[in-house]
Amino acid sequence: MKIRTLKLREAHKPSAAYGAANGSSFCSILWDQQARHLVTASSSDSGISIHDALLPSTTPKILRHHRDGVTALALSPNSTCLASGSIDNSVKLYKFPGGEFETNITRFTLPIRALAFNQSGSMLAAAGDDDGIKLINTVDGSIARVLKGHKGSVTGLAFDPMGEYLASIDSMGTVLFWELQSGTILHTLKGVAPNTGLDTSLVNILSWSPDGEMLAVPGLRNDVVMYDRDTAEKVFTLRGDHLLPLCFLSWSPNGKYMATSSLDRQVLIWDVLKKQDIDRQKFEDRICCMAWKPVGNTLAVVDVSGKYGLWESVVPSSMKSPTEDIPQSSKKSNGLLLFEEEGQEPCSSGSLGDNGEDSIGESGPPSRKRIRKRSEFDEDRSTENTIDDYGLLPQRMAPKRAREQLDKGANEELRSTAISVRSKMQEAFQPGVTPVQPGKRRFLCYNMLGTITTMEYDGYSHIEIDFHDTSRGPRVPAMTDHFGFTMACLNENGSVFANPCKGDKNMSTLMYRPFSSWANNSEWYMRFEGEEVKVVALGVHWVAAITSLNYLRIFTDGGLQKHILSLDGPAVTASGSKNRLAVVTHASNCLPSNDQVLEFHVFDIRNGTRPSRGRLPLSPGSHLIWFGFSEEGLLSSYDSKGVLRVYTSQYGGSWLPLFSANKTKKSDENYWVVGLNASKLFCIVCKSPEVFPQVMPKPILTLLDLSSPLASSDLGADVLENEFILNNLHLFQIQKRIEESSSDGRDTTELDDEAFSTEAAQDRCILRLIASCCNSDKLVRATELVKLLTLEKSMKGAIKLVTALKLPNLADRFNNILEERMLNETKDMSEAAGVAVNQGSGLGRNGTSSEVSSEPSCIPSSSTTLSAPHFVKKVVNRGAQKGRSDHNQTAREVQPEAATSGGSAELRTTAAAGNQETSRTSNPFLKSSSNHEGAAKEAMCQRPPSNPFKKSVK
């Protein structure tokens, strides 16, 4: 596209006295209706210049009535009346084109920023830094209405060409649609336009399309956004080569073209229907106002230094002229022909001030030209069909477009693709990210540790990292992001960011930023050519990125490229915790039933192994929306139907559903999952229809109880049954961990304690279940439950319970079970003792593993867990950490002691008595030793008491 230069002529001297300090001031330019005059004004000049468009060399007529710079100009539609607003807070009316001062029509307390006439010229809207928009009757100067609602200074006003609405925009980028009849706000679009702040030389403007179907507003991404007239929904955007935010836009008279000027000093001409720019011109200075010539193919421009010029033949001759097919609503013609037909046609907007239109009309008799023009319009009526097509097109397409727009938004938000686009493979997403919302801060990452938030300004973003625990997490300074990161991940040591590629110029980049490092400048960048990062994950001393080529790239902390693996399919998401990385990929295309087919892989980065892999189950018709590790390190997933699943190695590795939003949910709440621990789900509760949280106000985590999707049983004790299942799972996890750490040779004391307290809790739960079983006469079930009890004491409690409930039959059965168990126990104990003799010092470990292996089955033999090996270990532990005076521990000691199991008590006694260091704890057991059983004693005596202490010495 050729770049031409346009010679500009000075109209107003840039002055440093007022306006912006850099000499730029907001200038305005207007054509009159017949294109015979050009009116210019500058916010740094108190004079208004009326130039003769036909004889540009003649000196302009200058109106010096304001005492300060003129910030706003407006010409009534019939070009008989000129209004000007100024920094001196007044709005003045002049006759046009004569320029005789007529009246000070209104005054504000702060500078005026915007003026607009309605289509009939009967009403003038004025607004500025004051908090209200004044609607002024132009005839008598009475104020018809004050519209209050803007929070910042109003910088743009536009009456709808059909006369029903007024649109206004303020410096904070908020657009309001007012209904003129009632003076109420119809729509509020918050923060849709850039926030121009306090720079008065840059103002937000807005403009209705000449047919009134769309409102053009500068968008946040250096684009023009079109909003629907009635619904205020986004219809489409004009996005192109503007590098900086827009400062002005102007529709061509027929609405086919639009001129936009931007801070990057370019003026672009757009074909609105094709959404394409057709021409551009670069200027020396920023163009702050433009006006299309009402007749002819010319654009008048004025820049911030007060120079104006005419851009002739803007639209290439091959295309339709900008003044061809000017849309004619009846109201518009009413406005134009106001003088002749006034009073005959009802003017819907003029209801506030119809009466006095004639006084304005009188001041300038209709010229021949206008009459000629009218006849032109009459001719145009014959071609009205085509016009209507233009007029209706956007309307008809609006809903469809809006939906497309929505869909696009959903795709952008990465998370909920499958909702909007059915039977499509879910796109990659980062757990804990919220979708882009214009003008708002959003989460790039939200986990149990902290948050990473970003907010896009023009062209760059502002990223903040906050830790929930302000006292412990490192303080991380905010950073400016020139890449436009859309993915991030955070842990204690650092944060990783990545952006997708945008066009050919911006390559996908991965950045790692450690929070503390001994070396300076230890953040690093990786660029990917022809490849795009889809998901990032972070663990201890590693960073992982999955790319569009299905490569899993693993980097070290310092940026060393350590491994590159090929994944089986396109990535969906990934999550890291310590040295484990879990990746979800697509296994195949969607099923016809819209079910995603996902696969997960768990990698152990440190050891270079893949401990588990398999299919990732989802609820039918749903998609994955959160994926991560629980605080205990269990892999968990949450799908869009609100089902949380946790991966366990039970049944050879399977996913257990542990939470279902449908069961707990109040109808108007959505849960946005952040994490979970053994018994609670951490989430942010969002009021419907919102599905994700906002950054401000700071969201609060809500704890929800995990609950398996139990069938509603005839027992009526759902809570207990749920607790039973969760406890079982918990026990299983603990045992697995004990197994792991003991095979690693690590100390399992704490895990043992935890296992013990969970067992006790489980017994309590079972006892309550037995009670409810007995109450509802489910005796077989009660017997099964008794067999699951771990502690002897609990079994005795169960027997007491059924005796109290007058079920002697059941009590007998329970007694039999107890006896059987004690028998087994003694048998096991003598075996264990024998083993102990043989194995010597290896007993401790052996004891643990035998306990582990026996517990999952849990039926009669489970009491072995309580007997010899377990307690030997306990005493040993106590010896090892004698100083510990833990509440729990003493409580725990008392509990088994009360259970008058001869075997265990005796064992403890012998063990404790030998251990001189633990004199505190030994006494109670000495006492209890009197009531043990003879058989057990014998078994104990066989056992060499030295074994446990060998271990404690070790």
Binding site: F467, D469, T470, S471, R472, F682, K698, P699, I700, T702
Partner: protein
């Protein structure tokens, strides 16, 4: 107004009433991890960042002062609720339901946790309006104060405090008037028998 002149009339100073109010529970969102705190009044915690928890107001304010938490304004302190209450107060003769310590809680929160309350100016003016209306009501109620009909529901601590001493004395006076014949007035009986020496030590023990 009774609210201002209350200091010498009432039994407790406003500060004392405020002190009592500090035991009310409020919800806070801590931004640090901290183990349980064990106090005489109970155990609170453990605290996890970003997870709301109920603590006494004094603890909340102490944490707030150190920048360790944000206080979640109580449910009743929303603009909608307060406007409703204010309307109710203006329309009806009865007192609307508000927490017993609403004056003190709102005062403490406005003073020390203003950044945690959305629309603090609006809320503050609403609470002040409500308080004024209610204090005015208390005063007008006092004008037609009778011993038989003292059933004012939902009075708050501060309001009770204003009239506590007065109403106690007033009731005593009523009682005395009604039983004037049966029980002779103490003062007068004392005046009549000054010569009785046996009464003297006993009289000294009397409060007045």
């Amino acid at each position: 107004m009774a609210g201002q002149s209350g200091s010498q009339l009432s039994l407790f100073t406003p500060d004392e009433v405020e002190f009592v109010a500090e035991d009310e529970l409020v919800e806070i969102v801590p931004n640090l991890r901290m183990d349980s705190l064990n106090f005489i009044c109970g155990d609170y915690g453990p605290f996890y960042p970003q997870i709301a928890i109920q603590v006494p107001l004094w603890l909340a304010l102490a944490l707030k002062k150190r920048g360790k938490c944000t206080i979640r304004p109580p449910q009743w302190m929303s603009i909608e609720n307060l406007t409703q209450v204010l309307e109710g107060e203006r329309e009806s003769h009865a007192f609307q339901t508000l927490p017993f310590h609403y004056v003190e809680i709102s005062r403490l929160l406005f003073d020390r946790a203003r950044d945690d309350i959305p629309d603090v100016y609006m809320v503050r003016s609403l609470v002040e309006d409500i308080r004024d209306v209610r204090f005015h009501k208390v005063e007008t109620n006092l004008e037609n104060f009778t011993a038989s009909a003292v059933t004012w529901k939902n009075m708050a601590a501060m309001e009770v405090n204003i009239i506590r001493a007065f109403s106690g004395r007033a009731l005593q006076a009523f009682y005395r008037h009604e039983n004037e014949q049966a029980v002779p007035d103490l003062d007068r009986t004392q005046d009549r028998q000054p010569q009785n020496l046996n009464d003297r030590p006993r009289r000294n023990l009397r409060p007045r």
